[in-house]
């Protein structure tokens, strides 16, 4: 269990209710770092830093394009861990979660990955395609626990109550509630649906819940934040902004402004 995540959620709400996902090293290591620094300065409480995989099975077009860009640049998980280290040097309060797929971790391999992200100052990781049925998830969870880091688990709209209880039992840091059945950046979340999902979790646990998928605008964010979750996750919107303005000299500052438009609604 990450102490920092604990602290972030220990007050009634975090600094702001915004968790921001970025694809690490997108479009380059340096710009990615500058963008993330602006995100921190504009109120993000937790960063999810993605590492790229070619067969990422839950990503829509936007994040898939960013992953392919990073892979073509030959920026690897090692580079993303270096990026995390730079982020941690810049700020000691923001939560940092590495997010991606099991292939990279398996080949790293897992014990080395956990050692390196601990050293870099990360608070945990989230592995999309590693349910608790997978042997490597068990290995990863064990290694993270030993280092005091969190393995962030996903809960989906399809997750039934028995499964939800199993997941809660092995969760630490926070739960990631996936708001809808779909890939990233496509469908929109509905407040009523999310209300029901959060209510189900709240009935069982006091663990913090971050709600993600289908949140595209500050107004979406404001609506979903009212569902009783502790924070909301926005990803594709930020990645798309970077994609559409990839050559803009003021990209980091402008992403900062975009972040601000969300955090203003999420205090």
């Amino acid at each position: 269990m990450s102490e920092r995540l604990n602290k972030i959620f220990s007050k009634k709400t975090p600094k702001t209710k915004l968790v921001a996902y970025f694809v690490g090293c997108y479009p380059t290591f340096q710009i990615s770092l500058d963008v993330i620094k602006e995100a921190i300065d504009n109120g993000v409480s937790i960063l999810e830093v993605g590492f790229a995989t070619s067969e990422a099975s839950a990503e829509g077009k936007i994040i898939k394009t960013a992953h392919d860009h990073v892979l073509n640049n030959n920026d690897t998980l090692l580079d993303v861990i270096k990026l995390v280290k730079e982020i941690r040097n810049y700020n000691q309060d923001v939560g940092i979660i590495l997010m991606g797929y099991i292939a990279n971790l398996y080949k790293h391999p897992i014990p080395k990955f956990v050692e390196e992200i601990t050293e870099a100052g990360a608070d945990g990781c989230l592995v999309v395609d590693a349910p608790h049925e997978l042997k490597e998830e068990n290995i990863l969870r064990n290694e993270l626990n030993n280092k005091g880091l969190s393995l962030i688990k996903l809960v989906a709209p399809t997750t039934n109550e028995t499964r939800l209880k199993e997941i809660i039992k092995i969760s630490s840091g926070f739960l990631y509630q996936v708001n809808l059945s779909g890939v990233t950046g496509e469908k929109s979340a509905h407040q009523g649906d999310v209300n029901a999902l959060i209510k189900n979790i709240r009935a069982i646990t006091s663990l913090p819940v971050c709600s993600g998928f289908g949140i595209k605008t500050p107004s979406d964010a404001k609506d979903i934040a009212k569902t009783g979750c502790d924070a909301i996750v926005v990803g594709s919107t930020f990645v798309k902004y970077i994609q559409d303005n990839i050559d803009d000299k003021k990209l980091p500052q402008n992403v900062g402004k975009l972040i601000k438009s969300f955090t203003n609604e999420l205090k």
Partner: protein
Amino acid sequence: MTKNSLKNGPDELGYYGEGESAMGGMAVGETLMPALHELNLAFEDAIKDKAFLDEFAYYCKHYIGRPSPLYYAENLSNKLGGAKILFKQEHLNHTGSHKITNSLFQVLLAKRMGKKNLICESGAGQHYSATAAVAAKFGIPLIGVMGEVDIKRVNQNIIKAKHYGAKLKAVPGTLKEAITDAIKTWITNPDYYYVCGSAVSSFPFPKIVQFAQSIIGREIREQCLEQEKKLPNMIIGCVGGGSNFIGSIHEFLDETSIKKIGVEAAETAALTHGTPNIMQGMKSYMLASSDGSKSLGGSSLGAGIQYFGVGPQHSYLKDQGAVTYTSATDKEILNAYKVVAQSEGISSALEPMAAAAEVLKQAKGKPKDFIIVLSLCGRGEKDLDTIEEHMGKDFE
């Protein structure tokens, strides 16, 4: 079956073998996990239901035309002057390949589960046209996902599937991209039934596909004993994901005297050149960058065996040393096509010609009573344009 039988399925989490070297498992996002568990329970329940199995057997016989013949390729055997070569004529099945047996089984399962929509992926389009046929027969709408490269080269299957009423979703790339996108389509519609076309992906698909296709091996046993009064000495088949080959050899896995050789495309030979990785729902041998992040694709003339990975059970059988895996180049595939066409009057699909290329090597010098069974798992119509293109260049 004994405790140590290679025919024992994967464990309850989908692993073939034990410990960290076990292959298979379930590596998908949370959204699909309940659907996969539901599918596993539905499968286990269905295969205990005699009425369900009888229905499957009925349509295998009357709709597909099973059993497919075990044919003595006398001219080819004489030409090579060694072993006795038998073709398991899976290309004579309805829709022209082994794929339809699995499509039939899974669509019947989907129907039993009350599913209202189907998704499938395809490389060579054989699985797409087969599933489209069965989907039409049982009145369940189908979306097929295929790579644009494959859609161009196997046009006939696309046209047939369209006539059967299926909808096609095109994605950039080939089979690899189609599989990833089929999973995305399923995540977006988790109440659909995903008809996985090969013995790949997350548990329970490798188990289900192996179960459905194992009819091939059981027929080989029966037909070979009846026709030849003995069992084959060797079984050779091509391997992309590996459904046709696991179906051919599963029956014989504990019979070590029967040699089994799986043949991949040389450019995408996961079992020869790959290492274990976890992608597309499973742990298995794969061709990938050393950091695991990038699947690596070569190209093969055989769309159905151009796949960077392989079914997890094959990875396990390789590690156990129970099956030999090798590969064939495009040139060897085309040469085998020509030899089979001219000696037996059979225009085969290119994929099984990878296996035929190995037969050409193995048959020579073997005694006349040494029986090699070649699984001829698809017919050539879909590949005629590709073959014509190479006529006069790579062979006459």
